[in-house]
């Protein structure tokens, strides 16, 4: 199971993005500044945007899901119960799990964006996908929810999960770090070695690396362990 990007290129008005690399099983983090092309790359890998050049091969991928940055865009049901059903989920299981018990008849658009994001992620995680693309999964979530998401992601699964984010505080353990810089996708490698060349690393990680206390990975626990290391 793998996703291979073979010298792909996407151009749009004044924007261009070039990428080359292979995503194997595991959790991948694609970081980059706002507007660097993370969402565009996610859409391309999902096959939702045409490429200017190059090819994307999805080997052994039977099922795929892309979580868009704004959960509203995924809404197809008139009530939260209908929304759960549209994902093929049981409302009575999903709604209590994301703190929305008793909201069966509420319109998904009447929920706050944070609540809707929780519902959306709960629906996505109730299924298993060979390729899971998460575009800014941390947006609209509070710290508690971000941590819960990281715990959920940390569970070893037999798939490819790619997280596209510019989140700088709470991150999950990942197997590989990628970075979009100046319109090019760079493979920074596996942590902890990847942290040395990760230019858009969170300031705390950068500080620890500079102080010679490189964390083993990028999760909160890893950062805490590195900071307390003597």
């Amino acid at each position: 199971m793998r996703v291979s990007l073979d010298r792909i290129c996407i151009t749009r008005d004044n924007f261009s993005l070039a990428a080359d690399g292979t995503f194997d099983k595991g959790v991948h983090l694609v970081s980059g500044a706002v507007g660097s092309g993370k969402s565009t790359l996610a859409l391309c890998i999902a096959g939702m945007l045409p490429l200017e050049r190059g090819t994307i091969q999805r080997s052994g991928i039977g099922s795929m899901m892309l979580s868009l940055q704004f959960p509203e865009h995924h809404v197809t049901g008139m009530t939260t119960a209908e929304e759960c059903t549209s994902w093929g989920c049981e409302p009575d299981t999903i709604l209590p799990s994301c703190g929305l018990k008793g909201h069966n008849k509420t319109s998904p658009l009447a929920l706050s964006r944070g609540e809707l994001k929780r519902l959306h992620l709960a629906c996505i995680f109730s299924k298993s996908y060979d390729l899971l693309l998460l575009d800014e999964p941390f947006s609209s979530l509070d710290c508690e929810e971000k941590n819960a998401f990281c715990t959920r992601i940390a569970h070893p699964t037999d798939n490819i999960t790619i997280i596209f984010t510019h989140e700088q505080s709470i991150l999950p353990k990942v197997d590989r770090i990628w970075e979009i810089e100046n319109g090019i996708l760079h493979d920074r490698g596996t942590p902890p070695d990847a942290l040395k060349t990760w230019n858009s690393a969170p300031p705390l990680i950068r500080k620890l690396v500079d102080a010679g206390k490189s964390p083993r990975n990028i999760s909160y626990g890893d950062i805490l362990e590195a900071a307390c290391r003597t």
Binding site: A46, M48, H74, V75, T76, S86, W87
Partner: protein, 224 residues
């Protein structure tokens, strides 16, 4: 075309020319090919597919009724093409500059601000439609009549939320009416040449229109 004043003026003249006569439409199309990045506009045609379908249906009806459908279809299609080019050339903020240049700091600023907000809404709407279409594909839900209702509701709700956010932002910044702005425009020579080139297009259209009024129009003959 960088100068919004010339662009809007040219689009207005070309649209009128294309509307009043078939020769005007042909000349406007020639101008469109000569002075615009038309390949870029062609790529945006998918946004106007619905409009073209509607024009096609009306053209067919007119053709069967009085034989003028063919001319109507061509003329209206050229106008839509010009509209697509105009929307594609938009740069955020330029309508505000145009409004103030045209009608000053009060009325002009307000009109420009309204135009800006309208354009921003249109861009957001197109982006939302794209994302919603993707979400439907991902969920394997057909975007049929039953699916369009929640999608349409979603689009309206999102527009209302954005309008509310914009209103709050303007209120927080103390906006009441008008504002100070020094309009700035870039006018390269090519823009001037393109702007002047709409004059012959207008005359071609006017000539055919006048010819129609004096020699072909049964209505006018009746009046005289």
């Amino acid at each position: 075309m960088q100068d919004v004043r010339i662009r809007i003026g040219a689009a207005a003249v070309l649209s009128c020319s294309a509307f009043v006569s078939l020769w005007g439409a042909a000349a406007a199309f020639f101008w469109f090919l000569l002075f615009t990045p038309w390949l870029k506009s062609i790529r945006r045609l998918r946004f106007a597919i619905g409009v073209f379908v509607m024009i096609g249906i009306i053209s067919l009806l007119l053709q069967t009724m009085n034989g003028s459908g063919f001319s109507y279809g061509i003329r209206l299609s050229i106008i839509v093409l010009i509209g697509i080019w105009l929307a594609g050339e938009y740069h955020p903020g330029e309508f505000l500059h145009l409004g103030v240049w045209l009608a000053g700091d009060h009325l002009g600023f307000d009109l420009g601000l309204m135009a800006e907000m309208g354009m921003q809404s249109l861009i957001s709407l197109l982006d939302d439609i794209d994302r919603i279409r993707i979400a439907y594909i991902l969920k394997k839900i057909p975007l049929d009549i039953a699916g369009i209702i929640p999608a349409g509701t979603l689009l309206v709700r999102m527009e209302l939320i954005r309008a509310w956010d914009n209103a709050e932002l303007l209120a927080v910044r103390g906006y009441q009416d008008g504002g100070a702005l020094q309009p700035e425009f870039k006018t390269p020579r090519r823009d001037i040449a393109a702007g002047l080139s709409v004059i012959p297009v207008f005359f071609i259209a006017a000539l055919q229109f006048v010819n129609f009024l004096y020699f072909d129009s049964a209505f006018l003959k009746g009046l005289l």
